[in-house]
């Protein structure tokens, strides 16, 4: 009995010591004069958000503000809400956030703003545009149009195209698919065969693509609006032995996507500018904290990258930097 209690107490102390050791690593000083900014990503460990954090870091260093980066385990409003609430408790001066749901994230973000923080939305946005100070996002319409044009080029003007999205209700993904569908009507030889949802899971994407190819063998083009789906689709095409016939256009230009492009499992990539979103976002939020006027909504450019233009300086600018 006594030994059990002693070891139990030791374990309790151990867990506490562990937690102290962890928090000890990065707890900075609470300088009152320094502007504190927090970036709340949509999900942990996605190269798009990592590049965005790098851009934010660069701007933070230049402007002399302190930047923290945090994220939920999954792209899920019920998991992002506690993160936003914890950030609210920190009382930062400004916050950059990629809301994981256009409606569900409204109450916690409003609460954050009422605690005194200036909020800039990055990438995704709330349906209610009156909540935040500013919104920076990829020109998703241009992305959809560019993908349609690229399909026309690589498919020789003829084919059926399937779109892969993560889940309905994510503003950025919906817009990319809608614009692709609209733009495809300009090319009489190209036909839109619908959209499938993959929950940003490569395994789900692989099985969805296999099923879609069985149901509709005429599919010759796949447009994937996020990187896990691209990875799953590429695997599925290779397994089915149709990688040469079915052309895949992916989204994002992280290290893995560039590798896929070089290997030829992806025909082209629509690259966004996460680095610029992060950098400009910090600039906006710092301006807003200082009481300056900032543009309510801004779009950042996209570029279609393929093996032919990959080495050009312009394309290299669009390749995501994930180490900083």
């Amino acid at each position: 009995m006594t030994t059990f209690h002693r070891s139990a107490r030791a374990a309790a102390l151990m867990s506490a010591a562990f937690a102290i050791a962890v928090t000890g690593c990065s707890s900075g000083s609470g300088d009152p004069g320094v502007t504190h900014v927090t970036l709340i990503q949509g999900v942990k460990g996605n190269p798009f958000y990592t590049a965005m954090a790098c851009g934010a870091q660069e701007a933070a260093a230049q402007l002399g503000v302190r930047l923290d980066v945090t994220a939920p385990d999954q792209f899920d409003a019920s998991l992002q809400t506690p993160v936003v609430n914890a950030v609210t408790a920190k009382r930062p001066d400004g916050v950059l956030i990629a809301p994981t749901d256009a409606v569900a994230m409204r109450p916690p973000i409003k609460n954050l703003i009422s605690s005194g923080a200036k909020v800039v939305e990055v990438d995704t946005a709330l349906e209610d545009t009156t909540v935040s100070t500013a919104h920076l996002t990829t020109d998703n319409q241009a992305a959809g149009k560019a993908a349609a044009a690229k399909f026309n080029e690589i498919l020789g003007g003829k084919g059926k195209i399937l779109a892969l999205s993560s889940a309905p209700g994510i503003s950025t993904n919906d817009e990319r698919v809608a614009e692709l569908k609209k733009a495809l009507t300009n090319y009489p030889g190209l036909e839109f065969t619908g959209v499938q949802y993959t929950k940003e899971d490569a395994t789900i994407a692989a099985s969805v693509v296999s099923a879609a190819l069985t149901a509709e063998p005429g599919i010759t083009g796949i447009f994937s609006v996020n990187s896990p789906s691209t990875q799953g689709a590429a695997t599925s095409l290779r397994n089915a032995g149709v990688a040469n016939r079915v052309k895949l256009i992916g989204f994002d230009a992280g290290p893995q996507q560039i590798e896929q492009l070089k290997q030829g499992s992806v025909a082209a990539l629509v690259a966004q500018s996460p680095y610029q979103i992060g950098r400009d976002g910090v600039q906006y939020v710092v301006d807003a904290v200082a009481g300056k006027e900032v543009p309510k909504s801004s779009l950042t450019p996209v570029m279609v990258i393929d093996v032919k233009n990959l080495e050009s300086p312009e394309a290299q600018n669009f390749v995501y930097k994930t180490d900083c």
Binding site: A19, T23, S27, K44, N85, G169, K199
Partner: protein, 312 residues
């Protein structure tokens, strides 16, 4: 109660690191609010796990209940719906959860399918049904009154959702400790054969336990709609594992027969406090996942040690 010591140590530690922000009433309120819905799911899970069972379907049941409830409220007026629609939405949510609980219970106690498999099956079925009903698109027309009161309102500074969770926890704790229902639950988890021979209707009791868990999932689903004002179909995928982790950290044995609701409350709060504390202290988010994993294994390690000691 070494686990309580651990929770207090964690709270003290974060309060020392960030006295101005972590240790504020507003933050305590936020942590309680974030833990509330999981706490309700974990109460049901505690009963199930004491019977040596498991319920993986709770997150999907929550989503299903959110969807049917939101659909009913939409049909009765959507954003402008009044009290009658809200009451109907509440009843439908709990009933929807109860039905899945009964399905689980029937498959497990009468069909003799192991709980892990039965609830893995209904996990997919409940989520799939929710997606079928909505075509995968969230229902977003939730009564504004509901969102402003139960969802985000407070009474004397305490959020409504936290009050509901506290009531559920209190009732669950009393039922488990002081009623025949609670004693049967422990008896079945300790020795199912002995329970049967001493005259307990084991099948009927298991059916009731899973039905209870389903109904609590339904209640959590209703609170979810009230709080987020949408059905969050793509969310709550890890609620089942988080509830199980909370229950086990709180000292309920994964082998059945042992457990308390008080322990579950502490077990749910440890991950919630760790996550909040890590974010408040600006620690890299990946650490939180590591820390919760460590706490879970330490908790089960002590459970196994305790069992070895008592069986000696």
């Amino acid at each position: 109660m070494w686990i309580l010591t651990a929770l207090i140590a964690i709270i003290i530690m974060f309060s020392l690191v960030r006295p101005d922000s972590f240790a504020s009433p507003a933050n305590a309120r936020n942590i309680a609010l974030d833990a509330a819905s999981l706490l309700i799911l974990a109460c049901g899970q505690t009963f199930v796990m004491i019977t040596a069972g498991i319920d993986l379907s709770v997150g999907s049941v929550l989503i299903f209940a959110s969807v049917v409830s939101a659909k009913v409220m939409l049909a009765m007026g959507g954003s402008n719906a009044g009290l009658s629609a809200i009451i109907a939405g509440f009843i439908v949510a709990v009933a929807g959860g109860l039905i899945w609980g009964l399905v689980n219970g029937a498959i497990i106690s009468f069909g003799k399918v192991p709980p892990l498999i039965a609830t893995l099956g209904t996990l997919g079925m409940a989520l799939g049904c929710a997606q079928l009903l909505t075509n995968g698109v969230d229902v977003r027309e939730v009564p504004t009154v509901l969102n402003d009161t139960l969802g985000n309102g407070t009474v004397a500074g305490i959020p409504w959702i936290v009050i509901v969770a506290a009531v559920v926890v209190t009732i669950a704790g009393l039922v488990l400790s002081y009623t025949r229902f609670g004693r049967y639950t422990f008896a079945i988890g300790s020795n199912i054969e002995a329970s049967r021979r001493s005259g307990i209707d084991v099948r009927a009791h298991l059916l009731k336990v899973y039905a209870l868990t389903g109904a609590l999932g339904g209640l959590a689903g209703f609170l979810n709609v009230a709080r987020f004002a949408t059905t969050t179909i793509a969310g709550h995928t890890t609620d089942n594992l988080n509830a199980i982790a909370g229950v086990v950290i709180g000292g309920t044995s994964p082998f059945g027969g042992v457990g308390t609701i008080v322990g579950t409350v502490i077990g749910v709060f440890i991950p919630a406090v760790l996550q909040n504390g890590f974010v408040v202290s600006g620690v890299q988010p990946f650490w939180q996942t590591v820390a919760v994993g460590v706490v879970l294994i330490v908790a089960v390690y002590f459970d196994i040690k305790r069992r070895a000691r008592t069986s000696k």
